[in-house]
Each structure stands twice: as structure tokens, then as C-alpha cells.
């Protein structure tokens, strides 16, 4: 999977939770889930579950703590897929 493909998949996953359309339109590796997309922090656990379902992986509490922006989400998903 290319980075572009991965970003597209993540973008689709977070779309129901975002509260800032403008930041969502310009989503990049540097986009922060809470600060930029204004996602309610309680919804981060829902995003984790949706990522697990999409990629058929399991994310641990430690992964969850790190997954605060698009870049870290990509890194964690790539690591899990490689493992």
C-alpha cells in the first residue's frame, strides 16, 4: 500500500468524526486529530476500532496513546501490517 492509499483510507475512517471541514479537506500527514480536525477526544477510541476493522489488525493501549495525528497513525498501521 502506498502512503497515498493509506492516507485515503484513514481519511475515510475519520470522516464521520471530524468537526472542521476545512482542515479535513486539506488533510495531510501533519494533520492532528484533535487540534486540527477538532475530533472529540472520546471519539478517538471509535477511530481506533474502525482502523482495527479496516486493516484487520489489533491496536494496544500503547498504540492508542501514540495515535494523535495522521503521521503516527500511518506509522503504527504500517508496523502492524508488516508484523
Amino acid at each position: 500500500m502506498t502512503n497515498q492509499e493509506l492516507i485515503a483510507k484513514l481519511k475515510a475512517i475519520v470522516s464521520p468524526y471530524i468537526q472542521d471541514e476545512e482542515a479535513f479537506k486539506n488533510l495531510s500527514e501533519d494533520t492532528d486529530f484533535v487540534k486540527d480536525l477538532k475530533i472529540n477526544s472520546a471519539n478517538l477510541v471509535d477511530i481506533i476500532l474502525d482502523i482495527e476493522d479496516e486493516f484487520d489488525i489489533r491496536l494496544e493501549n500503547e498504540d492508542m496513546e501514540k495515535m494523535l495525528d495522521v503521521k503516527s497513525a500511518m506509522a503504527i498501521v504500517n508496523t502492524k501490517l508488516a508484523g
Binding site: 464521520p16 468524526y17 472520546a42 471519539n43 477510541v45 471509535d46 476500532l49 482495527e52
Partner: protein
């Protein structure tokens, strides 16, 4: 000097009508909202009929965002929010997510239990060792105050926001708690009401107690028969009712439409003494509750013209009417007109008091008494106490000023509220 309190908004989600205008039409026509439910049959319920409000996905999306509806499975919160928002808009307010916080308006919205189906989903996952996969909204949907949490956020309310719970008395109690808060000057407005989930997981316990009718699975609309000689248990219902209570000063100041005045009421308990139990009422306490409600309203028993009873269609209906008769010291032709909204919507449990109070205010405002359906065969014990023409089976138009509404609940708890047509 205590403040006068009036009703300036109504909202209702009932098995026989969603929204005040549909519900009013159903009340006038004597339309039943009770239907057969295959799900109950498949689960081996004795009673396979019930009342469930008809809410389309389109309607849902007018009140909830797509995000709020993700993984949403709490029918009580759904009904409560629709009724609450309707009442708020009916009172002349808008719902704007960026509105300024309103410290002068609070919310008391009751329920018996919340999000039972969501809780069931969660329990299955949890028992499989998958607690980590419950998602973020199990708590919000299953906490008793879930409905208050959702609703107050939609409206931006900044006064007291809470949930009360007192079995089938809940809705009527919520009205009186909000009333007192305004009367005492602690809030200008209170959105009050109650809601109840539908479905087998709420209704099953009652089926097991054999207090629901099993004789009308083939004739659901005839199933809910308060005051009938052939009443054989209640029919379960669900939904929500909501009222905007407001100080008279505030209502006049903003030129609001006034449906009625809340004169007063009383809340008490029979303490499970003198014949009262967890499930049966202490008659003396019921009578005291009615008498005190009248006294607190500053009127005489002779001024009550219509009663909207608790009247569930169990063997307790005759006892309830005996209690009214003793408390008011009135019988026969002197007994007020009697109204059993449950004949059309079933027993909406925690939502009952609110839905039936909305029905009471609608009848007062539009000056009619709705039909008591399914009691063509009035129970002989009741006929001894009340002239049968005061228990109409067809709608009657009536000029009247005062209606009493009472609800009684498991745990031997009672509430009675008096509504009066607003006069300056």
C-alpha cells in the same frame, strides 16, 4: 411570594402519534397505537402486543447528527430528545449549536432505565472478553441521565440538569420538581418530562410478573382496557413527553403562547405500610397525595372537572377510583370526567406520566375530553362510584378549567399535579 408557573411548550412521542398535532388528532379520534410484535412472540412472551412510536430514519436525522447516530441504540434517549426539542421549539426557542449558554433554563428529564438494548450489546462483547471494543458511547447511552445529557447539550441549558426516576410516577414527578424550582425562583424555565425505552428487555420483567395481558394477541387495539370489566392486565408502551415550564413573568415578558398554568401538586410515598407493598399502593397515602395536591393548588376538590388517572387496566383500577372518590369526597354524577390515556397508548412506564400530562394539557387547551376506548363494558365496581356518562367512550367537547393528573408507581410512590386554564 412564590412565582406562578405556566406551560409554554409541549412535545410528545407516543405510540399513537409523534408530535403534538398527530397526537392531538389521535386523542380526539380515540386511535390506538398498540400493535402485535412478532419479536415478542418469537421470545415466548405471554403478552405479544405493545406500543412503539413510529420514528422514520428521516425524522431521526432531523434531530441527531450522523455522528450522534453512529452506534446509537437507545430508544428512550431518541424519544426523549425528539419530544424535548419539539417542546423547546414549540415554546418559541430555536436550537442552535452555537447558542449562548442559558443559565436561566434547566432540565429534569426522567427515565426508568436507559439504553437497555445498548447495554445488552455491551454485555455480549464484554462477556466475550472484548471490553476494549465497546466504543465510546456505552456509558452515555446507558447512564440513567443519558437523556438529560444529550438533550441539554443540544439546547445549551445552564441551570440544573438532571434525571429523576420513580417508576411509573417519573414523568409527573419531573413536572412537579421543575415547577418547584421555578416557583422558588431558582430558574426561569425548566424543560421537564420523561422517556422510556421500548422492547423485550424492558418489558420482559413485567411479562414474567403476569401483569400484562395475554388475551389480546390477536386483537391488539382492544388490548388496553382500563376500567373495563374484561381488563386483564396492562399493555406495555414506550415513548416520551416533554413540557416547557416557565415563570409567568418570563412568559408574559416574551409574549409566549400559554397552554395552561401549573397550579401545584404533591409527591409522596405510602412507605409500603398499611397495605402498600413494593407493587401495591397504600390507599391512604394515595388519597393524601390527591388531597394535598388540591390544597397546595389553593383550590377546592369541587373545582376538579376532569381527572386523567393512572388507570393501567389491571385489577387496581377500581381501587384507584375509590381513592379518587374518597379524596375528593365526590361520587356518581358529582364525580369529575375520567380519562384513561393508556387505553390508546398502553402503559408507557417511566414515560407514562409525561405523555399523559401532555394529553391532559392538550385536552384542557382544546376543551375536549378524549374517549376512553375499550371500556364499553365498564367494570361494575367502578360504575358504583362514577356515573358512566362521566367515563366517555366517545370524544366530548367540554368547557372546563381544571384537570388533575396523577401517577402511581412501584415502590409505593405517588404524584398528583393540577393544571388550570390560564387566567390573568
Amino acid at each position: 411570594m412564590k412565582k406562578r408557573v405556566v406551560i409554554t411548550g409541549l412535545g410528545v412521542v407516543a405510540p399513537n402519534g409523534v408530535g403534538v398535532s398527530d397526537f392531538t388528532e389521535s386523542l380526539k379520534q380515540g386511535k390506538s397505537g398498540i400493535m402485535f410484535h412478532q419479536e415478542l412472540k418469537d421470545l415466548n412472551f405471554s403478552c405479544q402486543i405493545g406500543g412503539i412510536p413510529n420514528i422514520s430514519d428521516d425524522l431521526k436525522s432531523k434531530y441527531f447528527t450522523d455522528l450522534q447516530l453512529r452506534g446509537f441504540n437507545s430508544s428512550g434517549i431518541l424519544y426523549g430528545c425528539i419530544a424535548g426539542i419539539d417542546a423547546w421549539k414549540d415554546a418559541g426557542f430555536d436550537t442552535n449549536p452555537d447558542s449562548k449558554l442559558d443559565y436561566q433554563t434547566g432540565l429534569i428529564f426522567g427515565t426508568g432505565t436507559s439504553g437497555v438494548e445498548k447495554f445488552r450489546e455491551a454485555i455480549y462483547k464484554l462477556d466475550e472478553g472484548n471490553v476494549r471494543r465497546l466504543g465510546s458511547t456505552v456509558v452515555l447511552q446507558t447512564m440513567a441521565s443519558g437523556v438529560s445529557a444529550y438533550l441539554s447539550g443540544m439546547l445549551g441549558l445552564g441551570n440544573q440538569v438532571t434525571t429523576n426516576s420513580s417508576a411509573c410516577t417519573t414523568g409527573t414527578e419531573a413536572i412537579l420538581m421543575g415547577f418547584e424550582r421555578i416557583q422558588n425562583g431558582n430558574a426561569k424555565r425548566m424543560l421537564v418530562g420523561s422517556c422510556s425505552d421500548h422492547g423485550p428487555y424492558v418489558w420482559g420483567g413485567f411479562d414474567a410478573m403476569r401483569v400484562m395481558t395475554y388475551k389480546h394477541n390477536d386483537s391488539p387495539k382492544q388490548g388496553s382496557r382500563p376500567m373495563s370489566a374484561t381488563a386483564s392486565g396492562f399493555v406495555p408502551g414506550s415513548g416520551a413527553g416533554a413540557l416547557v415550564l416557565e415563570s409567568l413573568d418570563s412568559a408574559l415578558e416574551r409574549g409566549a403562547k400559554i397552554y395552561a398554568e401549573v397550579l401545584g401538586g404533591e409527591i409522596n410515598s405510602g412507605g409500603q405500610r398499611q397495605g402498600g407493598t413494593l407493587t401495591a399502593p397504600n390507599a391512604e397515602a394515595v388519597q393524601r397525595c390527591i388531597k394535598k395536591a388540591i390544597e397546595n393548588s389553593g383550590i377546592n376538590a369541587s373545582e376538579i372537572e376532569v381527572i386523567n388517572g393512572h388507570l393501567t387496566a389491571t385489577s387496581k383500577d377500581a381501587l384507584e377510583i375509590e381513592n379518587w372518590s374518597k379524596a375528593l369526597n365526590r361520587d356518581g354524577k358529582d364525580f369529575p370526567y375520567l380519562n384513561a390515556t393508556k387505553s390508546m397508548v398502553g402503559h408507557c412506564l417511566a414515560a407514562a406520566g409525561a405523555i399523559e400530562s401532555v394529553a391532559s394539557v392538550i385536552q384542557l387547551n382544546e376543551q375536549f375530553v378524549s374517549p376512553n376506548i375499550n371500556c364499553e363494558d365498564l367494570h361494575p365496581e367502578i360504575e358504583k362510584l362514577v356515573a358512566s356518562e362521566h367515563i366517555p367512550t366517545e370524544k366530548i367537547d367540554l368547557n372546563f378549567n381544571t384537570i388533575a393528573k396523577a401517577s402511581f408507581g412501584f415502590g409505593d410512590v405517588n404524584a398528583c399535579v393540577i393544571f388550570k386554564k390560564y387566567q390573568e
